[in-house]
Symmetry: C2
Subunit: 429 residues, 2 copies
């Protein structure tokens, strides 16, 4: 690892500001529908434009064997491309960077082709980029698990015995994973606000966000054939931001003994652009020391944490611009993505292309780095101060939550798209 | 409700014995590939034959508007047909029963058509009939929850407070839902057999089955728009048997606080034929009294339990024929399927066509009706006696578990296909 942030002299013929999230070093994948058509296809973001990979492939610009037989870009999801595996991803990325370089004339000087394959971001509509077969949510921030455990079980009993030995996780709900920008209706459900009275039906009173990242699986594995941790590292296609919206009162009443269910399943928002792991490779860092040492199947050489800055902005109906309520970093995660995927398959469970594995709430060591309102307001005991004398303990109707993320190099940044959603009022029966 | 079992004079021109699982009163749906082709399609089982609905529809025998525009039977899954909703299901079923009646000449006397649309079951290959978007597993047998709670927390604290107020459930793993007949490899994983020593890696020592039924969702609901309990009742397409294979030691170490994960996700076996709810309608009965009375969104008029006999057979490598180790009944379930589906969507979570909702282990009130080895052997304290002086506390390599189910009328039975699987030895790294 280098001690200083990575630098790069790689530049595109398309002008991209140095603080733009989508420089040539990033090239995140998404699915979009161009103007004047209804056929979605795979694209990459470059600056404020979207490059149409389906049309590029039709033009024969890729000399990648896997792309000749399959048509992975002329699809409404990234799944087929994810299923091609690391060598195809690498070949496509190299070719795209070569095509977009400032010193390559091939696309730069081909005005007609450029018109057909490059669209202003504002002119296209984005779609949920992946058909998510299974969505798994982990619980991999030690600070978050400690905070929540302290609030609900006391400081002495905050972490369960298993937490330091394996990446605790659970199956989430795939059907309600939403594209950024979609509003989220405050859920109704059953809660028991008074432990001495029967439960009641109504809107959640404790609506929350959870700041997470997630990754998508590439080829995956056959049932009964676990991925080693090194194989797992190669099977991580790319990352998105994840807002794991949570209704704390519904969750608190339902979760024993089988875990979170309706307190989570009403909505999970992801960012639209999948940042390839190759773009994040320069930002690998050492994660927290793992003590006790994990079992062999969870051990591998080399750094596997990532230095990605995370921010959560909140905008209430009375505010004129968003206010940052949390600053965190993925490097705080105790369990790495390759450990999560190796653990997930150790029992033979098959991961499929496009499966989403999320980190769990990423809370840092300081109070302003906690990744949920539950922690930021410490269960409402210390409401969060906002501009204009407003405060918040949990989310109110009309509140908008915007998550951002980026890895910062000397002269560029690899940004994530935002995970953005506004709370609509409940409509309980 | 009638007091005596339902009877029927409906008979098919195809001879079906009165104890056969698939009479004309049943007509369960599956997906099969006929001999001499590789194109899967939807069929129904009638006696020992399979009727090809895709070919029948091509012949124009269905006068059902939804089938003209769509081709729901020329598909590798039932999802498109499930999505058409109750009126289409009802129209297709009526037409099929009319076509197969002994006193209808249309198909009976059309030798050429019969040859093309009817195949001996032994000549076709069956497939997993549904693309399962999300799989949810409930915990709806009070006896099972009480048994497990008693073993792990003591009799006083067996049921958590929430259990009698809502159908407790959790998200399961969709990728590893398997068709009956597929072998199941004993999973490897992390356990902590000695609480005073570090956890270890290796094959599960406590492999178990769980006797369950499951149902598939029809049209489902839009995100943010819950199904009322009456709507939920109409959206249940049909039922299958479910063996929710479990590794008790992996589960016991991992499950706090987020619930079951790798202890379950290595395999879930379902029976191949989806029994339509219309076939089970004559077998509706009152379920257990629900006390306390559930909240309004979980209340509806009329019986919603089903009198379906369940059996689990075990065949060890040294046995020459299977031995029944459990006899139970779906009528023992405390929470009904319509309550499960209404609860699942009460927070706005969207159910999609083909989602699978399973019951949880169905244990009856007597010791021989417990639906898992954990309960039958009471955690190994009372091993189950088998023929030939064998005993079992949990499953051993080579053991085969066969689940059967049927609803019995006076002169016919509505049977389920079997959920059948054999345990392969582990192959841990």
């Amino acid at each position: 690892m280098t001690d200083s942030p990575p630098t790069s002299s790689l530049t595109s013929f398309l002008e991209v500001a140095s603080d733009h999230p989508f420089p040539i070093q990033n090239l995140p994948y998404g699915v979009f529908t161009p103007p004047e058509t209804t056929v979605p296809r795979v694209g990459v973001a470059i600056g404020d434009q979207v490059l149409d990979l389906a049309t590029l492939n039709n033009e024969g610009v890729f000399d990648v064997p896997e792309l000749q037989n399959e048509r992975p870009f002329a699809q409404p999801t990234l799944n087929d491309f994810m299923a091609l595996g690391p060598s195809a991803w690498s070949a496509v990325r190299s070719r795209l960077q070569a095509l977009l370089r400032a010193d390559t004339a091939e696309l730069r000087d081909a005005a007609s082709l450029r018109n057909r394959v490059l669209h202003p971001r504002a002119d296209v509509s984005l779609r949920l980029p992946v058909d998510i077969g299974d969505y798994t949510d982990f619980y991999s921030s030690k600070q978050h698990a400690t905070n929540v455990g302290t609030m609900f079980r006391g400081a002495e009993n905050a972490l369960k015995d298993n937490w330091v030995h394996l990446p605790v996780g659970y199956h989430g709900r795939a059907s309600s994973v939403l594209l950024s920008g979609q509003d989220v209706r405050r859920p109704c459900g059953q809660t028991r606000p008074d432990a001495d009275a029967p439960p009641v039906y109504g809107p959640t009173q404790l609506l929350d966000f959870e700041l997470e990242t997630g990754f998508f699986v590439g080829e995956g594995n056959e049932l009964g054939t676990p991925l080693s941790i090194d194989e797992a590292d190669d099977q991580i296609f790319g990352m998105v931001l994840v807002n794991d919206w949570s209704a704390r009162d519904i969750q608190g009443w339902e979760y024993e003994p089988l875990g979170p269910f309706l307190g989570k399943s009403f909505a999970t928002t992801i960012s639209p652009w999948v940042v390839p792991m190759a773009a994040l490779e320069p930002f690998r860092v050492a994660g927290p020391t793992q003590d006790p040492e994990p079992l062999d199947y969870l051990q591998a050489d080399g750094d596997a944490a990532y230095d990605v800055t995370l921010e959560v902005d909140l905008e209430t109906p009375s505010m004129t611009s968003p206010h940052t309520v949390c600053r965190s970093n993925t490097k705080h995660l105790y369990w790495t993505m390759r450990q999560q995927l190796a653990h997930h398959t150790v029992n033979g469970c098959n991961a499929r292309p496009g499966d989403l594995l999320a980190s769990g709430t990423i809370s840092g060591p300081t109070e302003d780095s906690y990744g949920s309102m539950l922690e930021l307001s410490w269960r409402g005991e210390e409401p969060v101060s906002l501009p204009g004398d407003e405060t918040r303990s949990f989310l109110e109707d009309g509140d908008r939550v915007i998550m951002r993320a980026y890895a910062q190099a000397d002269d560029y940044r690899v940004g994530f798209g935002t995970a953005d959603g506004r709370v609509l009022p409940a409509s309980c029966a």
